[in-house]
C-alpha cells in the first residue's frame, strides 16, 4: 500500500526540492540551509526507496501528462537502470552540498532556494522521457549554475559565469537542433517512442548536432575550455554540483539519446567517439599535470575521466563482442557515478582550503597533514579514489571500461587509455605532496582541520565510493541489465 499512486512517485521526487524552495521565504534566514538539507535528505531517501523497489529491466515509475500534444511533446518521466544511479547520485550530492553549506552567511535563503531549484532541474534531466522536457531541464541547469557562479562565486566570477553560460547555451542550441531533427523523423518527442522506432538509416547530421551539444556539456576536448574557469570561480558546492551532476548530463545524453535513438549513425561514427574519448583521457591528464591551481587541476581530471566514458560509449558502438561492449557500457555508467562522488568530494575539499586560506595555489601549501589530519585523510582517500585505486569506485569503472574496450572493438585505444591511469596517479601524488606532506608552506598555518559539517558532507561521498569499490554488485545489478538493453538497441 503506497500512500501515493505509483505513477506520481517519480514526479514527486523530482519536484519535491522545488516545492521546498518555495516555502523557504517563510522560514527564518538561518534555517534556510538546514531546510535545504532536510529536503534533500528526504529526497535521497525517496530515491533510494525507488532504487530498492525497482524491478527492472525497463522503464518504471512512468508518469505522463499532456503538455504540447500538437508537436507530440508531453510531460513524460520514468526511471531505469541508467537513470536510477544518477538520480541517487544527484540526491546524495545535493544533500552533501547542503551539509557543506550549513555555515554559509552570504544570502543563505537565496542560495538554498537556488540549489533546491537546481536539484529539481537535475533530477528532471535524468527522469525525463521526453526530448523537449529533457531539453528544458538541460537548459535550466545552465541558468541555475550561471546564477550560482555569478552570485556566490569568487575571483573573476562574473566573466567565468558568462563564459560558462554562453558556451554551454550555444551547445544546447545545437542539441535542440538535433532533437528537432529526431522529431522530424519520428513525429514525436517521446523518448521511448523514438527509441522504439529509431532513425533507420542516415541521421548523421542529427548525431552531429546532438553530439556537439552533448560534447560541450560533457565536456569533450576541444569543447572543454569553459570548464576550468567556471570551476575556479564557483563556490565549492557549485563546483561539486557542476562536476558531479551537470557534466553527467552530457554523458547521460550519450547513453540515453544518441546511442539508442541513432544506432545506425552511432555505429558509423563510433570511431570518432573512441578517438575523442582517448584524446580526452590523455590530453586531460597531461594538462592537469601541469596545473598549479588545485581547482583547475581537478577540472582537467574531469576532462580525463569523462574521456573514459566517451571512449567506452564509442567502443560500445564498434563491431565486436556483445559481452565486451556491455562491459564497456556498464563501466561508463559506473564511471559517471564514481566521478560524481569522488570529484564532488575533491571540490568540497578544495573549498575547505579556500575557505581557510583564500587560495587554490598548490605551491603555497605543504605539510597541512600536521594541523589538519582529518582533512588530510579525506583528501588522500579522494585522491586515491580519483586515480583509480581498487577498493574505491574509480577502479570498478575503469577496469570495466578498459577490459570492455580492449575486448570489444577498440583494443589499441583501450590499451593506450590505460596510460591515463598512470598520469593521474602522478598528478594526484603531486597534489598530496604539495598540499599535505613535506615542509609547511606559506599558507599552511591558516589551514585548520575540517569542521563537523564539512566532514559530514565529504565522508558520505567517499563511503559511497568505497562501497562501490568493495562490493560493486548492488550498483552493477542495476546497471548491467540496462547496459544489455542499450547494446541490443545500438545493434539494430
Amino acid at each position: 500500500m503506497t500512500p501515493v499512486p505509483e505513477h506520481t512517485v517519480l514526479t514527486l521526487v523530482v519536484f519535491w526540492p522545488l516545492a521546498a524552495a518555495l516555502v523557504l521565504p517563510a522560514l527564518p534566514r538561518r534555517a534556510a540551509v538546514a531546510a535545504w538539507a532536510a529536503a534533500s535528505a528526504a529526497d535521497l531517501a525517496a530515491v533510494l526507496a525507488l532504487w530498492t523497489a525497482y524491478d527492472g529491466p525497463g522503464l518504471a515509475y512512468q508518469d505522463r501528462v499532456r503538455w504540447i500534444p500538437s508537436v507530440g511533446a508531453g510531460y513524460h518521466v520514468g526511471a531505469d537502470g541508467l537513470s536510477l544511479p544518477l538520480l541517487a547520485l544527484t540526491a546524495l550530492l545535493f544533500l552533501c552540498c547542503a551539509l557543506y553549506s550549513l555555515r554559509t552567511r552570504t544570502r543563505p535563503r537565496a542560495f538554498a532556494a537556488l540549489f533546491l531549484a537546481l536539484e529539481t532541474v537535475c533530477l528532471g534531466v535524468f527522469a525525463a522521457q521526453d526530448l523537449l522536457l529533457f531539453f528544458v531541464f538541460f537548459d535550466l541547469s545552465i541558468v541555475g549554475m550561471y546564477f550560482v557562479i555569478a552570485g556566490w562565486g569568487h575571483g573573476d566570477n562574473a566573466r567565468s559565469a558568462l563564459k560558462f553560460f554562453l558556451y554551454t547555451f550555444t551547445g544546447s542550441l545545437a542539441l535542440l537542433l538535433g532533437f528537432i531533427a529526431l522529431y522530424l523523423d519520428a513525429g514525436t518527442f517521446d523518448m521511448a517512442e523514438i527509441t522504439r522506432r529509431p532513425v533507420a538509416s542516415g541521421g548523421g547530421l542529427a548525431l552531429l548536432a546532438i553530439g556537439i551539444g552533448l560534447a560541450v556539456k560533457t565536456p569533450v576536448v576541444p569543447f572543454h575550455t569553459w570548464l576550468p574557469p567556471a570551476h575556479t570561480d564557483a563556490p565549492a558546492p557549485g563546483s561539486a554540483i557542476l562536476a558531479g551532476v551537470l557534466l553527467k548530463m552530457g554523458t547521460y545524453g550519450i547513453v540515453r539519446v544518441a546511442m539508442p535513438m541513432l544506432p545506425d549513425a552511432w555505429r558509423r561514427y563510433a570511431w570518432v567517439a573512441v578517438a575523442l574519448g582517448l584524446l580526452g583521457v590523455l590530453y586531460g591528464a597531461l594538462v592537469a599535470l601541469a596545473q598549479r591551481n588545485v581547482k583547475r587541476l581537478i577540472a582537467y581530471t574531469s576532462v580525463n575521466h569523462m574521456g573514459y566514458i566517451v571512449l567506452a560509449a564509442g567502443a560500445a558502438g564498434l563491431a565486436g563482442d556483445a559481452a565486451a561492449r556491455r562491459l564497456a557500457v556498464s563501466g561508463a555508467v559506473t564511471q559517471m557515478v564514481a566521478h560524481g562522488l569522488v570529484t564532488g568530494a575533491l571540490f568540497l575539499l578544495a573549498g575547505v582550503l579556500h575557505d581557510r586560506a583564500g587560495s587554490y595555489d598548490l605551491a603555497r601549501y605543504g605539510g597541512v597533514a600536521r594541523a589538519a589530519p582529518r582533512f588530510a585523510g579525506l583528501l588522500a582517500v579522494a585522491a586515491f579514489a580519483s586515480l583509480g585505486l581498487p577498493g574505491l569506485s574509480g577502479f570498478i569503472a575503469e577496469f570495466q571500461i578498459f577490459t570492455g574496450a580492449i575486448g570489444g572493438g577498440a583494443p589499441v585505444a583501450g590499451a593506450l587509455a590505460v596510460l591515463g591511469v598512470l598520469v593521474t596517479a602522478g598528478l594526484f601524488l603531486g597534489v598530496l605532496h604539495r598540499v599535505l606532506l613535506g615542509a609547511p608552506g606559506e599558507l599552511t598555518p591558516r589551514v585548520t582541520d575540517v569542521r563537523r559539517a564539512e566532514l559530514a558532507a565529504v565522508a558520505p561521498l567517499l563511503l559511497a565510493s568505497a562501497a562501490i569499490g568493495v562490493a560493486p554488485r548492488f550498483l552493477l545489478d542495476l546497471v548491467e541489465p540496462a547496459s544489455a538493453t542499450l547494446i541490443a538497441l545500438v545493434a539494430r
Binding site: F399, G426, G438, R473
Partner: protein, 690 residues
C-alpha cells in the same frame, strides 16, 4: 572452508582499515590489536593452506572473481602471514609515534598481498596488486614531513604502477582472447592475445619485483622505516612479481618468447644487481640490491619452469631478508647511520642480534647448509648452461657481498670508539665542514666519523637530492634516511651503549627468522623436496644433482673465505673488483637506471606544460577570438545608421511585439514550448522548401 578464505582476506584488510579510522582513540592498544590480527591471520592462513579451499563470487558481468588457496598460494599465504606477524611484533617495540597509521597500513598492506597471492583471476589479482602498491607508498613515506622520503615513496609507487599498466592491458587482452580472466586459463588464449597477455604480465611482474630495468625504485624504497623494508622487500610486494611469474609459467612457456625473456631478465638482474650490492656503502642499500638479485633467481626459475625451486627460493629469501632488514633496523636506529663503515663492529654489540644477523648473512652468501644455498641451486636446476653459468656467477657475487657486509659488522669495535662517537654526535652541528671533501676510503674509524659528518649537511639538502641526481649526494641523503632525527626512531643516545629500546619485542622475532633462514632450504633438499613438489602440484620437476649443490657450495665458500680474510673490498678495492673507478661508480649508482626513468618523467612534464600552454592559448584562444569577433560584428551593426527601411521594420516589430506579449504568462515551460514551435516552423519551412 570458503569462510576461512574470506576471513583470511578480510581480517587484515578490515583490521587495517579499522585501525586507520578509529585507532587514534586508543593509540596504546593499537600494536596489541594489530599483532592479534596478524596472529589470527596466520592461523587462518595455516588452515587455508591445509584445507585448500577455493571460492568464486560475482564481480563483473560474466567475469566472476575467484580466490583459492592451492599449493603455492597456501605456501605464500603462510609465509606472508608469518613475516607480517613477526614484523609487527618488532614494530611494536620500534615504532613510537603515529602507531595507528603504521599498524593500520601494514595490516592493509598484508591483506592486499594475501589477496594478490590467493587471487584466481586477473581482476582480483589486480585489486590486491594495486592496493599493495598504494599501501607501500603510505609506508615508505611514513615520515611524511620529510619531502625527500615522500618523493622516494612516490618514485616507488609510480614506477611500480607504470609497470602495473601491463596488468590492465593483460586483463583486457585475456578477456578479448579467452573471455575469461582465470589465471589458469591464460595459456589457452589464442595466439596474438596470448602474447599480449604474457607481455603485460611480464612487464608488471618485473616492475613489482624490481628486476631490470625497474630495480632503481627499490633503492628509493629504503627511505621507509626498517620494519617496512623487512616486510615489503622480503616476503611481500617484491615477492609478488616473482610469484605471479611462477603462477603463469605455463603461459610464459606457451608463447615461446616470454619464458626465455623472463629467464634472462632474472639472470641478468641476479648478476648485475649482485654487482650493485657489492658496490654499495650502506647496509640497507646492500640489502635492497641483494633483494633484486636474489629474486632474480626466482624469476629465472619461472622462466625455465623450475616452479618448485623458484618457490623454495622465494620463501627462503623472505625469511633471510626480513631477518637482515630487522637487524639493520636495530643498528641503524641505535647508531644513527646506515653507512657500512659507520656500522663497524655493530654485530658485536648484542650477541643475539649479531648471531641472528650472521645466520642471515651466511644464508645470503649461499653457504651450506643454510637455506639460500640449496634453494638457489633448485631454482637453477632447469636452466640451460648459459643461464646456469650466469646464475653461478651471480651466486659468487652473493657470497662476496654477504661476506663483505658480515665482515664489516663483525669487525672488532674500533679502538677510537669514543672519539668516533663524539664526532658522530657532532653531526647535529650543521656546520660540519668535512662535507664536500670526504675521502673515498680512509682508515675505518676516521672514515666512519667523516661519513657521518657528511650525512648531516646532506639531510637538509635532501629535497634537492632528486634534482641534482648527484650520486654520492643522493647516497648520503639516503644515509640520512635512517638517522634518528624523526620522532619515530628510538632514541639514539639511549641505545648507543648497546642496549636495545623496546628490546625484547624487537629481538624476539629474530631467532625465529634465523631458524627459518637456516632451515627453509630443506624444501630444496632431497628428502623433503619431493614432498614440496607434490604440495606445489609439480611432482615431475627435477631437482639439482648432488654435484651441483657441491659445486656452488665450493664456489661460495672460496669467495666467502677470500673476502672474509684478506681481499679488502672497501673503496678502491671495490674498484679493483670492477676494473675501474668509473665502473664502480656506475654500480654504486644502481646502473644509472633512475636517471633514465627521470629523463622520461621530465619529458612527460615538459609535454604537459606545453599542452597546458596550448590549451590556454590555442584552444581557449580560439573560443575567445570567436567571442571577440561576434562582439565586434555586433558593434559594427550598432554603429550603422538606421535607414527608413529599418525604422519601418522596427515599427512593424514593435506592433508584433505587442501581440507577442500576450502569451507571456511568466511560465518558463510555455516559453520553451513557444521557442520550440518557432524553431520548428523554421525547420519545417526549410524542409519543405528543400
Amino acid at each position: 572452508m570458503t569462510a576461512v578464505l574470506a576471513a583470511l582476506v578480510l581480517l587484515p584488510l578490515g583490521g587495517g582499515a579499522l585501525l586507520l579510522v578509529a585507532g587514534r582513540a586508543r593509540p596504546a592498544l593499537v600494536p596489541a590489536l594489530a599483532v592479534g590480527a596478524a596472529a589470527g591471520t596466520l592461523a587462518l592462513a595455516c588452515l587455508a593452506a591445509a584445507g585448500r579451499p577455493a571460492a568464486r563470487f560475482p564481480l563483473f558481468a560474466g567475469l566472476p572473481g575467484g580466490l583459492r588457496a592451492d599449493g603455492s598460494a597456501g605456501v605464500l599465504a603462510v609465509t606472508t602471514a608469518l613475516v607480517t606477524l613477526l614484523v609487527l611484533v618488532y614494530a611494536a617495540g620500534d615504532i613510537g609515534g603515529a602507531r595507528p597509521r603504521f599498524f593500520g597500513f601494514t595490516l592493509l598492506f598484508a591483506g592486499a598481498m594475501l589477496v594478490t597471492v590467493l587471487a584466481a583471476d586477473l581482476a582480483v589479482l589486480l585489486m590486491g596488486w594495486e592496493v599493495m602498491g598504494a599501501a607501500s607508498y603510505a609506508l615508505i613515506g611514513f615520515r611524511w614531513d620529510d619531502g625527500a622520503r615522500v618523493r622516494s615513496a612516490a618514485t616507488a609507487f609510480l614506477t611500480t604502477r607504470a609497470a602495473d599498466l601491463g596488468l590492465y592491458v593483460a586483463a583486457g587482452c585475456a578477456y578479448a582472447g579467452a573471455r575469461t580472466l582465470d589465471l589458469d586459463a591464460l595459456a589457452a588464449a589464442p595466439a596474438p592475445w596470448r602474447d599480449a597477455v604474457a607481455a603485460g604480465i611480464v612487464l608488471a611482474a618485473l616492475g613489482k619485483s624490481a628486476q631490470l630495468p625497474f630495480s632503481f625504485w627499490l633503492s628509493r624504497a629504503m627511505a621507509g622505516p626498517s620494519p617496512v623494508s623487512a616486510l615489503l622487500h622480503s616476503a611481500t610486494m617484491v615477492a609478488a612479481g616473482a610469484y605471479l611469474l611462477l603462477r603463469t609459467a605455463p603461459l610464459l612457456h606457451a608463447t615461446g618468447w616470454a619464458a626465455p625473456l623472463v629467464a634472462w631478465a632474472g639472470a641478468l638482474t641476479a648478476l648485475l644487481l649482485g654487482g650493485v650490492a657489492l658496490a654499495q656503502r650502506e647496509l640497507k642499500q646492500i640489502l635492497a640490491a641483494s633483494t633484486c638479485a636474489q629474486l632474480g633467481f626466482t624469476v629465472l626459475a619461472a622462466g625455465t619452469g623450475a616452479v618448485a625451486g623458484g618457490t623454495a627460493q622465494l620463501v627462503a629469501h623472505a625469511a633471510v631478508k626480513s631477518l637482515l632488514f630487522l637487524c639493520a633496523g636495530i643498528w641503524l636506529g641505535a647508531l644513527g647511520t646506515g653507512a657500512l663503515d659507520g656500522l663497524r663492529g655493530a654485530a658485536r654489540r648484542n650477541r643475539v642480534v649479531g648471531a641472528c644477523f650472521c645466520a642471515g648473512a651466511w644464508s645470503l652468501a649461499g653457504l651450506p647448509p643454510f637455506a639460500l644455498w640449496a634453494t638457489k641451486d633448485a631454482a637453477l636446476a632447469a636452466a640451460p648452461w648459459q643461464l646456469a653459468a650466469v646464475g653461478v656467477a651471480a651466486s659468487a657475487l652473493a657470497a662476496a657481498y654477504a661476506t663483505r657486509a658480515a665482515r664489516a659488522l663483525l669487525a672488532p669495535l674500533p679502538p677510537a670508539a669514543p672519539a668516533a662517537s663524539a664526532a658522530r654526535d657532532a653531526r647535529a652541528v650543521p656546520a660540519a665542514p668535512a662535507a664536500p671533501a670526504a675521502p673515498a676510503a680512509p682508515a675505518a674509524p676516521a672514515a666512519s666519523a667523516a661519513r657521518d659528518a657528511r650525512a648531516a649537511p646532506a639531510a637538509p639538502a635532501a629535497p634537492a637530492a632528486h634534482d641534482t641526481r648527484d650520486v654520492p649526494a643522493a647516497r648520503d641523503a639516503r644515509a640520512a634516511c635512517d638517522a634518528p632525527a624523526a620522532p619515530d626512531v628510538p632514541d639514539a643516545r639511549a641505545a648507543r651503549g648497546g642496549a636495545v629500546r623496546g628490546g625484547a619485542l624487537r629481538v624476539l622475532p629474530l631467532p625465529v627468522l634465523a631458524v627459518a633462514s637456516a632451515g627453509a632450504g630443506l624444501s630444496a633438499l632431497p628428502p623433503v623436496a619431493g614432498e614440496w613438489r607434490r604440495v606445489l602440484g609439480v611432482p615431475g620437476e627435477r631437482g639439482p644433482e648432488w654435484w651441483e649443490f657441491f659445486g656452488t657450495a665450493l664456489i661460495a665458500g672460496v669467495v666467502a673465505v677470500l673476502v672474509g680474510i684478506g681481499v679488502p673490498v672497501r673503496g678502491a678495492a671495490v674498484a679493483r673488483v670492477f676494473g675501474s673507478q668509473a665502473v664502480a661508480r656506475v654500480f654504486e649508482g644502481w646502473l644509472g637506471l633512475e636517471r633514465g626513468a627521470f629523463a622520461v618523467v621530465r619529458g612527460v612534464r615538459a609535454a604537459a606544460g606545453g599542452l597546458a600552454r596550448f590549451d590556454d592559448r590555442v584552444v581557449d584562444g580560439g573560443v575567445r577570438a570567436a567571442a571577440a569577433g561576434a562582439r565586434r560584428a555586433a558593434a559594427l551593426a550598432a554603429r550603422a545608421d538606421p535607414d527608413p527601411v529599418v525604422e519601418a521594420v522596427a515599427r512593424a516589430f514593435r506592433a508584433l511585439g505587442g501581440l507577442a506579449r500576450r502569451p507571456q504568462t511568466g511560465q518558463l515551460h510555455l516559453y520553451y514550448a513557444q521557442a520550440a514551435v518557432v524553431l520548428l516552423a523554421v525547420v519545417l519551412a526549410v524542409a519543405l522548401a528543400g
